[in-house]
């Protein structure tokens, strides 16, 4: 029966349990659905907070104040320079000691309308802060890509620094920031699996539990891999839509859309207003 005897000797009892696999993947169990909800919830909030932290850190890093530049530099240096898993442990297990043993992450915390576990909150904090450090560099590069003439024109019209950033520089930098931001969120979706080590019931933890209960190791982890793949694939599609809306692909000429890249669908033509947003004026 077995065509690969040398594999078989190492693994003679293994048989892919297709029935178990299908049952595990679809329809998903309530536990798996719950895990999916936590994974998406944490990824979305941590990414959103990370973007805000990243913008603030980038602006601080480019400010005239030496103190702000120092704080931004230290922040990026520390959080890009240490493992995320270590940061997660530092936040979850470590920081309560800073505050005299107060339980910073109790079993029930309210956050954005949901009752969540403290460990989830700790995860959101750690991932946000870590993400902010990476976003800081991305936002900085985006801002630096904008012609200094734009800032000068805004200043010469009497705009304050804040107005110049909000109305002139950041909207233009967004086109440069969006593609790497999409990449970051793709990463974030997968990074949430680290939460399994602090006992958060996200999808990877659910798969581990299924494995422990059934010893269908390969099936369980392949199943959860498919779930991550589905999440990142859906996100790629959403990102493609966002990029076309912002006309990001214009800068690089006619770029293939996600659908045509993936499945050979024809690229939809975009509205004129989107097509006409230029990458830079008057050069």
């Amino acid at each position: 029966m077995n065509l690969l005897p040398f594999v078989a000797t190492a693994n003679s009892s293994f048989q892919f349990d297709i029935g178990w696999f299908i049952h595990f993947v679809f329809p998903p169990s309530p536990a798996l659905l719950g895990g999916l909800a936590i994974t998406i919830y944490v990824a979305v909030i941590a990414q959103a907070v990370g973007v805000v932290l990243g913008v603030l850190s980038a602006l601080a890093g480019m400010s005239r104040s030496r103190v702000l530049r120092g704080i931004s530099g230290l922040y990026v240096w520390f959080f890009r320079g240490t493992p995320l898993l270590v940061q997660l442990f530092l936040v979850y297990f470590g920081t309560p000691y800073l505050f005299g043993g107060i339980d910073l992450f109790p079993n029930h915390v309210g956050l954005v309308g949901l009752d969540i576990k403290g460990a989830v909150l700790a995860g959101i904090v750690a991932f946000s802060v870590n993400e902010g450090a990476y976003m800081s560099e991305i936002v900085r590069a985006g801002i630096l890509s904008i012609d200094p003439g734009q800032t000068e024109a805004a200043k010469s019209l009497g705009m304050t620094y804040r107005l110049t950033m909000m109305r002139i520089v950041l909207p233009q930098a967004l086109r440069v920031i969006i593609p790497p931001l999409g990449n970051e969120f793709n990463n974030m979706l997968k990074t949430t699996s680290l939460l399994s080590v602090i006992a958060v019931e996200e999808i990877f933890r659910v798969a581990q539990a299924a494995n422990s209960a059934s010893f269908k190791t390969f099936e369980a982890f392949l199943g959860v891999a498919l779930y991550y793949l589905a999440l990142t694939t859906i996100w790629s599609a959403i990102q493609g839509v966002i990029e076309r809306r912002l006309g990001v692909s214009q800068a690089g000429g006619q770029q293939a859309s996600f659908w045509s890249r993936m499945f050979g669908f024809a690229r939809r033509t975009t509205g004129t207003a989107e097509v006409e947003v230029p990458s830079s004026g008057g050069h």
Binding site: L157, E276, P278
Partner: protein, 269 residues
């Protein structure tokens, strides 16, 4: 061509003082490079001053100091009687708060060599942005003014397009309209036609001449001596960070004194 451009903004903006610009002994260094070595210039209301000089003479740097796009290390620049960019504290210059500098810049329009229109905004939005966000002008009023300005620089049909769809000459006319929309007491032009194809220079100079005739106070860094001859009250020749010669356009065409001026004019005329 356009007549009464300034009607679009309710007539000639009235500066608070008769002397619009008063620069005294302005000195600037870029690191160790001494680029302005004591520049003094007074510009009265309704005056048009053209600044000429070879590249590296400091002329662009000097007008950029007037709206504090560049810092200065010595001297004083007053616009409308207000010290620009600095506070004086026991005889020393201390850079002013960012908010105060922004306020001073509202009175000083600037037109750049490379236009620097906002590429993510339509032509009309480029013009209404600062009046609305900086001066707090209501939207309909800003739009009315913006459209009137566009009509007078001959670009009414272009209000909904983006800058990248315009020619260089059209972009520069929009840039002038954008600066005028803030109703500035003073307009600075930094080589406004140097980045233009030759056939587009005329349309921009026409708008500038019209503004000059209507009494706008202007300092223009430019080598367009034809423009200078027609509308400038004074021409200023800069060389190596100093003003070396000053006079009417006629003086520069007929009897330039300084050797450097003669050499420079022989190259551009």
């Amino acid at each position: 061509m356009s007549v009464n451009i300034l009607d679009a903004i309710g007539g000639l903006p009235r500066p608070e003082t008769d002397t619009v610009v008063e620069a005294t002994a302005v000195e600037k260094w870029f690191g160790k490079l001494h680029v302005l070595k004591g520049v003094s210039l007074t510009v009265k209301r309704r005056e048009v001053v053209v600044v000429i000089g070879a590249s590296g003479s400091g002329k662009t740097t000097f007008i950029r100091c007037i709206n504090h796009l560049e810092k200065i290390q010595k001297g004083r620049i007053f616009v409308n009687g207000h010290l620009i960019g600095y506070r004086e504290e026991s005889g020393k210059l201390v850079e002013d708060k960012e908010r105060n500098i922004a306020k001073q810049r509202q009175e000083i329009g600037m037109v750049f060599q490379r236009f620097n229109l906002f590429p993510h905004m339509t032509v009309l939005d480029n013009i209404t942005e600062a009046p609305m966000k900086v001066r707090g002008v209501p939207k309909d009023e800003a739009v009315t003014t913006g459209r009137a300005l566009l009509a007078r620089v001959g670009l009414s049909m272009k209000e909904a397009v983006y800058p990248s769809q315009l020619s260089g000459g059209q972009q520069q006319r929009v840039a002038i309209a954008r600066a005028l929309a803030m109703k500035p007491a003073l307009l600075l032009f930094d080589e406004p036609t140097s980045a233009l194809d030759p056939e587009m220079i005329g349309e921009v100079l026409d708008v500038m001449k019209e503004l000059a005739i209507e009494g706008m106070t202007m300092i223009v860094v430019s080598h367009e001596m034809g423009f200078a001859r027609e509308v400038a009250d004074r021409v200023v020749m800069m060389d190596d960070g100093r003003i070396i010669e000053e006079g009417t356009p006629e003086h520069f065409f007929t009897a330039p004194q300084h050797e450097r001026t003669k050499a420079f004019l022989s190259k551009i005329l």
